[in-house]
Symmetry: C2
Subunit: 375 residues, 2 copies
């Protein structure tokens, strides 16, 4: 009952009743059921309800003690939170589910969506890059996103600081999709709260995570596969060597998506990742035209769009807090509680900073709530 890679695409019949949808959610939220297992169970048991009934016995047979399927109360709470947030459930196989994800071996069976789902019917380009990007990188992201928007492409990104933020902002008026690492109702980073709200109004926020889930480092790579999966091509705008954007680029290649990168001078460390990608065969991008030219031949839905307003760059907050955390940590793990007391910050303040540093690979979480510097 572990996750497995399916080597071929098996069509899944979407749920048709409220009861069905409830069972889908419950099956997916049950322990040890990931996207691939979900699809296998559905195929083998022909419905989520049947799969749920069979799960405990299957777990027992696999040697897992005390296995229980997800309690109905958890699903009731999730549905209630979704209603409050005006979130809509998109189910694999249904008409409103993003078609681009259908052929992924680990396509999310369910997505929560807040906003205008019609943007999922348009051709899309993903833009990713450094959170601590240069002003040149931010300008490039804005220019590309605005021009791609004018050409009828929806810009998909991850609502992160830096490149993501610039890309979303420039594409607000023409269509943009933010795929979140946590719940679709949990905005991270907090400084992008207004942007997230604007995206929900004119574009779409998406997440495969349950409502209310706070993003953890392990959520981000899984989220990234959805960003690249939704798009025909992934443009890496600015990325240092060994950055998360390079992992997204590799995933994109595995998914059969075009990978493109904006070059920079070799003396600029922030271009190192992009230059590496180009050396490895990614298409060099100078402009939106270069992106469109690299796409597999397919006519874009052209539509009228006004020039997007460019909002000012958000001010980078928390740099001081990051430095303070790094100064307190060493190779020997200490408890997160202790760190919070030492720094005299609230858990609410320190939490996002820890996620940042974890994503940057600067700190590591150890079992038992312990933290250390990455060796």
């Amino acid at each position: 009952m572990t996750e497995e890679q399916l080597s071929s695409y098996h069509p899944t019949l979407p749920p048709t009743t409220e009861e069905d949808r409830f069972s889908w959610l419950r099956l997916l939220r049950s322990r040890k059921v990931g996207p691939a297992t979900f699809r296998r169970l559905l195929r083998e048991h022909s419905s989520a309800q049947n799969a749920l009934a069979a799960l405990p016995e299957m777990a027992r047979a696999a040697g897992i003690k005390g296995y229980e399927i997800c309690p109905p109360g958890v699903i009731e709470a999730e549905l209630k939170a979704a209603k409050a947030a005006n979130a809509q459930l998109l189910c694999l196989g249904s008409a409103d589910f993003p078609h681009a994800l259908n052929d992924l071996t680990d396509a999310p069976p369910l997505l929560w969506a807040i906003g205008d789902v019609s943007v999922l019917r348009k051709p899309s380009i993903a833009m990713v890059g450094a959170r601590n990007c240069s002003s040149l990188g931010a300008r490039m992201a804005r220019g590309l996103a605005a021009d791609l928007g004018k050409q009828g492409y929806v810009v998909v990104s991850g609502l992160a600081r830096g490149i993501d933020t610039s890309a979303h902002l420039a594409a607000l008026n023409t269509g943009t999709v933010a795929v979140l690492a946590g719940g679709v109702d949990v905005i991270y980073p907090a400084e992008n709260t207004d942007l997230a709200r604007d995206i929900a109004q004119s574009g779409l926020r998406l997440s495969e995570q349950p409502m209310g889930v706070t993003p953890q480092a392990r959520h981000f790579p899984r989220r990234n596969r959805i960003i690249s999966g939704l798009a025909q091509a992934v443009v890496v705008v600015e990325a240092a060597a060994k950055s998360g954007s390079l992992i997204t680029a590799r995933d994109a290649l595995d998914q059969g998506r075009e990978v493109l990168a904006v070059p920079g001078h070799p003396f600029d460390a922030r271009a190192a990742g992009c230059n590496l990608l180009i050396r490895d065969g990614a298409t060099l991008v100078r402009s939106a035209e270069d992106v469109i030219e690299a796409l597999p031949r397919q006519k874009a839905d052209l539509f009228e769009a006004s020039v997007p307003e460019i909002a000012p760059e958000p001010v980078a907050l928390g740099a001081t807090l990051h430095r303070e955390i790094l100064a307190r940590l060493g190779p020997s793990p200490i408890a997160e509680d202790q760190l919070i007391r030492d720094i005299a910050a609230t858990a609410g303040e320190i939490g996002p900073a820890l996620v940042d540093l974890e994503l940057d690979g600067r700190i590591q979480r150890q079992p038992g709530g312990l933290l250390s510097l990455t060796a």
Copy 2:
């Protein structure tokens, strides 16, 4: 008797006597005899002397009236100038002729060399780029040339301002070859007089042109084929769109040489040519290691080399003169003499500036010594 491209390589027996060398020079300096015709004539007539004897009749048969072979006095003067400049004649097919040029269809039959011809036996990398390069470009050229030198590669370039100058300077101690567009004894630009002298001491200056010839715009593309021909690979360090470096890169590809380019941010117009080359398949270069890795497998002659001293960048002279010339010229041609009088500069001062502007495509020479702005 026009120039033709030879599709296969025909070995040429080099001259063995002084008389033979005289005849080679005389044949090559005769009107309408270029490198390909030279080789054809030598093949058909088995010696330069026989070819010279046959030339007038061949010209007559081809309908050329009043054809005369090069007078012996011209060759005597050239040999005298060569002796004064300590220049050595390298003949196609002889042991000291650069082997890398042997397989070019339009290899120069003769080259004048001043300096240490042993550098021609070492693996070589050509470095080319903008004359009006950025300080970033100059720094990159210095770094690449110094590192390639340490790895045992001779750096070949064209003694121009900008990238060429930086590359030569950084490779002075490890070996560098300057291929000149005019005579091997005519230093252009004048500001590189000291550098040209230093190259002749520790490296080599080369030219296929007769001694004393002032470089003309048409000489540069022909010279560039020798730069790329001498090298295993051509690195374009910084080049705007539509620059001469791109023509050199295309020639290099035709010659079967590797073409590499240093990327830059798309907002930097001075990187446009390099980014274009990379989009078209040139290897992206971040460091000397990237260059060496791209070479066809072949062991470099490693040799000890100290870290080259980096001389300060030469100050760009003549910018004011260039502006003055452009201001005086218009689309209607005026006489060069008139221009010199208008500007109150000497012909010696204005000549190099005119070559610069011609190379930049800013001005055009018309028949009868007339000059105009390029439309």
